[in-house]
């Protein structure tokens, strides 16, 4: 078991290094950041240009720049944002709580609703329940998230005024004060629902089809032949096996969450990292873009490794590989 864990962690680190290379390289090799920066500050005097370049360290060889960058990055120093003129780590840290709150609520909503719904859909096959579930899944996978968000804002927020339509409320940072809790939850509601939507649909579909296959399998029949109660058969034998494909696609779920959080943050003006990243991209703020993508990538790879390790815990056949 430990061999497997170490192996996966090693692979994760290699992927991380490769990612940092790709991110850094694509920004610095495809157009001199200096060119983009100069028009913002000084006139095109060649001497001043060269001097500025030297000052920013942009004239050094690529590898040196890369090494330097990585060295600071490990200690969470990503340099300064071109546009906002503040240290990037500070900016990111400030926006992080919002994104984390959003992502976690979306994630838990999706899992808590998606998996049991999928399993029950399979057990009560072809019932009304199943048909509604399938309809929901079809819609959730086809409707564009930004559009659903806007529609929900329009009807639930605008016309019916049931939910606030933007922002987080008054909460600052990680923890709300006691008075802030209700409004925090209220603001969190719509964005997390939208975020969870397509992910829930995908999970439901997966759990359902996995469960159907399992219910048909010989070992489930044998468990019944042995005389086990239905409850035991479903939850001990079947569900555990159904978890395997769901975990397998846990990575895709995660990707969906990361994707979705950018869109949801934009639509709901949610002050998180996604919104920060988008601004960075549209404003050509290279250090910011670099840092944000690198961090997201880091997060994604870490979670992927954790999922793989969980996979190994659930399915003993994987450990043997």
């Amino acid at each position: 078991m430990w061999q497997y864990v170490l192996r996966r962690m090693g692979e994760g680190i290699i992927t991380l290094i490769a990612l940092s290379f790709v991110v850094f390289g694509s920004v610095h090799l495809t157009g001199d950041p200096a060119d983009y920066l100069m028009p913002l500050t000084e006139a095109h005097d060649q001497k001043i240009y060269e001097a500025q370049k030297k000052q920013m360290g942009l004239d050094r060889p690529f590898i040196v720049q890369y090494w330097d960058y990585i060295n600071s990055a490990i200690f969470f120093d990503f340099g300064t944002s071109y546009v906002i003129q503040k240290p990037i780590s500070e900016l990111i840290l400030k926006k992080l709580p919002a994104t984390v709150h959003l992502a976690l609520s979306g994630f838990f909503l999706a899992i808590i609703i998606g998996i049991p719904l999928g399993i029950m859909s399979a057990v009560k096959r072809d019932s009304i329940f199943d048909k509604l579930g399938k309809g929901f899944a079809v819609f959730g996978l086809a409707a564009p998230q930004f559009w659903v968000a806007i529609m929900l804002i329009l009807f639930l927020g605008g016309k019916l005024q049931w939910f606030p339509t933007y922002g987080r409320g008054d909460i600052q940072g990680w923890w709300p004060t006691i008075e802030q809790i209700p409004q925090t939850l209220w603001h969190l509601a719509l964005p997390s629902i939208v975020l969870a939507l397509s992910v829930t649909a995908a999970i439901m579909r997966l759990a359902r089809s996995a469960m159907l296959e399992i219910l048909d399998s010989d070992y489930v029949k044998f468990a019944q032949v042995k005389g086990l109660s239905n409850r035991l058969v479903i939850w001990r034998h079947a569900a555990k096996n159904a978890l395997i494909p769901v975990l397998t696609f846990g990575g895709i779920t995660l990707a969906g969450l990361l994707n979705g959080s950018v869109i949801v943050e934009v639509v709901f003006a949610w002050p998180g990292v996604g919104l920060l990243l988008l601004d960075g991209v549209t404003q050509r703020d290279f250090p910011l873009t670099e840092a944000a993508i690198l961090l997201s990538g880091f997060f994604y790879i870490c979670t992927a490794v954790i999922i793989d390790i969980t996979y190994g815990l659930v399915d003993p056949r994987v450990r043997a590989r």
């Binding site: 029949k221 044998f222 032949v225 042995k226 005389g227």
Partner: protein
Amino acid sequence: MSDDIVLKVENLRTHFHTKTGIVKAVDGIDFELRRGETLGVVGESGSGKSMTAWSILGMVPKPAGRIETGRILYHGEDLLQKTDDEMRKIRGSGICMVMQDPLTSLNPVLTIKKQLTETLELEFKEKKESLLQRAIALLSSVNIPAPETRVTSYPHEMSGGMRQRVVGAISISRSPDVLIADEPTTSLDVTIQLQYLKLLKDIQEETGVGIIFITHDFGIVAKMCDRVAVMYAGHIIEQAEVTELFDNPLHPYTKALLRSVPDLDDDVEMLPTIEGQPPDLANTPSGCVFRDRCPDPSDDCRDGNVEMGLIEVSPGHWVDQCCINCG
């Protein structure tokens, strides 16, 4: 009914209601099983052998499948009258089944220990340690070497022969009176097959369990069974003691089946076959189902006028009544 008869099936009909028609998987069969006896059920694929087993266990796939008529008497009680809960209690402790492929019969993500103890739990309300001891004892009774270490392994870590023995151990762990074995040796090597059959026989001697052995292999029938029932298209067309059936087969189908297993000593140029195809179970012919393939049907039979039903021709030897007329 004598005390000796553990299971008695009367006029069992299991039909499937599908979009294309009613498929008569099992259409009126009768047989008995005594204590310590092995009844072989022989027939080609689709003859209704497995569905008979599922009907006895009360696990006919719903909603399409339905047991239309019949009684299944287990220790005198009709199983078809029982509720789901009551059937569940009987499964495993009274009647149990072993399926063809041991790899898929075992849950790949649970240890052998878990799969054994969960069954034992249902029978013996004891502590975990004592259940574990029982599990280990069971494993050694089916000749699994080093059972104390084996018990914590996973199904994919064992060989096919071992897996089938584990499945066998699980199925007899609650000392059932009836064990249904649905082609358990088909996926095993020939040498492993022999070991497994011997194991079953030993278990039967020790516990007196009645075995219904479903197979298409007459060689196994000769080795294992006391009595045989030959099934065709959902009907039992002949039933007798093993030696009697081999020496004196009456139904043309039985004769053809036995003929198709060539003797090693004979000089065979062409393997004998049975002409024709088994009938479509959604459209069975009226009267004798075999009449289209029978080499010498009587006129009455050919027109579909003769009903099916077993007649005792000599003590213990039953054959379908249309054969009396035909030949």
